[in-house]
Symmetry: C2
Subunit: 331 residues, 2 copies
DNA sequence: CATTCTCATGGAATCGTTTCCATGACGGAA
DNA sequence: TTCCGTCATGGAAACGATTCCATGAGAATG
């Protein structure tokens, strides 16, 4: 592979001059500029990133740590973040922690070793030792989606309260009084925020305040199905079910189908926090609060770049959109 | 940040010795070993990756270029590939090409500059200039999912013929004669292989060979919906529809719903190449050929690592599983 | 006891850049 | 004409690791 030395030799200049031309320094004559660029093109020169990073003490690489890229929320977020980063000349390295603190720490070590310039972190639990170390090393960090206790990095996440309000308004419009709510873990800030917003807002929207109708799973289908069954076991028969995330709604639907049968299930309306394109094909179709995952990713990258460049970044709540697929709505 | 020099000084040894200890060379005494390790731990030393990469002329980084990480096939693949790579001490950098040759080339330049040790490539079209250059530079490369003309890198992909055979067998068992097939672009090897396998196998499975029932879209929902409408416009009324990928099936369903109404649509069975968990909730439920994206990712990484380590790798077709969700099957 | 061999060690070179510093050419001002 | 300032340039240092090579201590062998 051609090095800058080869380019300089071919152009008949010193390496210093070649470097200045290639990095766009103004301290270059038109003459050497054209000769260096020509030589570089002829040799197919591509700068050695590690060498440059070593010397400049920055890598132009961002680390993105999510719990699971298979989750559509994160894959949309990651896609948008990667595009935004690349548009600014940054590369993204992606890693999954799989909701496991040990894996998260292993990844953070790798990131540290790669000397990433900044970290986009979607936390999954409390602070871990490696994270603590990174925070102490004042690496620029932004949080995505979930907050984490004792870390005051800027947070880019969904407007959970606003999204729940949209769902509540829809439930009221549809005339539902007996609504089941399946939440997520209280230890996740998203779970807690949605749960709190629901409890705080339900009465004002004409929804029964019987807590037998409220239960929580683990944000996964199986846990949600169990929570749904617990609610049914208490003798409740809701006319609508509100699932606090996509998997939760899926699990709740499955439980209702299995327990009550397809016919009775089709009389219950589901509304979900998190939209999935397949909701349109359920019977009845499922309405949903749609997260703007791409915008969260882009805003996170922009905030992180601001921090990297010595500026400041402030937390931001990204608005949701309500997708109304109910019978009366304009299809 | 602590450097190896700091570690050596604190341990009272030369940097060479510290390096040998930290990289596990056998040429070290137990004494210096323990002192260096202690010093490293006390200082929280984490090796500078770029410096190491510069000297060793390898980065332990793999590049993964997919068309769109939001596609569940790729997000499952990427998840598994990342896990497998990390288990072998490699880091993955991910990029999306969005089915755009210019973006793909831009990404390949970034990869080249990062001096990745190997490339996992899911191609989207013909060879591009940058790809040509990379192939010439004999960077280890494996292809995922799709092949590409004129490139003889090993391919790790779905067993398309086998998957189509599973679907055909199911169609026969269900007694379908009038089956519509919505394919994908012939320019994608996956589209062509599935199409060819279907045409070659339909007669033997008792399926009508009228080509009015066959059309193709672009592997996206909208294009598939148009293809479905063209079939219906020809006056055909299939009892089953076979979509050549997930989005295609989705689009075909949407078209059938819109054109014939929910009631008539519920009389048509859909079978899909690519499984999606929501298929279970359609009415009737959609059966599907499930491809083993995680195994494709893992096999691809293993093949690539073999190439990197100077070995050889051979193409591999990963078997599919048929998910039968039809009425008679054990639910 | 002398010699050779083994092996851990220190020191230095090296990887490919960027950036600092000194130099020299050139132009403009006095 | 002389002097100063500007500015492109060449050369060298520096980034932080790995690895080569020479050295010296100690063990093993005769």
């Amino acid at each position: 592979m051609a090095t800058i030395k080869d380019v300089a030799a071919r152009a008949g200049v010193a390496v210093g001059t070649a470097s200045r031309v290639l990095s766009g320094s103004p301290q270059t004559s038109p003459d050497s500029r054209s000769r260096v660029l020509a030589a570089a093109a002829e040799l197919g020169y591509i700068a050695n990133g590690p060498a440059r990073s070593l010397r400049r003490a920055r890598t132009d690489v961002l680390g993105l740590l999510v719990s699971d890229i298979r989750n559509p929320f994160f894959s949309e977020l990651a896609h948008a973040a990667e595009q935004e980063a690349r548009a600014h000349g940054y590369t993204v390295i992606l890693a999954n922690a799989n909701e496991d603190a040990a894996q998260a720490d292993a990844v953070l070590d790798v990131f540290a070793s790669q000397r990433i310039d900044g970290l986009l972190l979607s936390p999954q639990g409390p602070k871990t030792p490696r994270l603590e170390a990174l925070l102490a090393s004042d690496l620029p960090i932004v949080l995505l989606n979930r907050s984490i206790e004792g870390v005051d990095a800027p947070l880019y996440g969904t407007d959970n309260a606003g999204g729940v309000a949209q769902a509540l308004k829809w439930l009221q419009r549809r005339g539902h009084r007996d609504v089941a709510f399946i939440g997520g873990p209280e230890t996740f800030s998203t779970g807690a925020e949605r749960h709190d917003a629901y409890l705080a807002g339900r009465e004002a929207h004409g929804i029964c305040t019987d807590d037998a109708l409220v239960d929580a799973g683990d944000f996964l289908a199986d846990g949600a199905a169990e929570a749904m069954l617990r609610i049914l076991d208490r003798g409740a028969l809701p006319t609508a079910v509100f699932g606090a995330n996509g998997q939760t709604t899926l699990g709740a639907m499955r439980a209702v189908h299995e327990r009550l049968g397809a016919e009775a299930a089709s009389l219950i309306e589901f509304v979900s926090f998190d939209d999935v394109e397949w909701f349109a094909f359920m019977s009845p179709p499922v309405s949903a609060v749609k997260n703007d995952a791409p915008e969260i990713g882009r805003a996170g990258v922009r905030g992180l770049l601001a921090l990297i460049n010595g500026g400041t970044a402030t937390s931001q709540r990204i608005a949701t959109t309500f997708i109304d697929r109910s019978a009366g709505s304009a299809a």
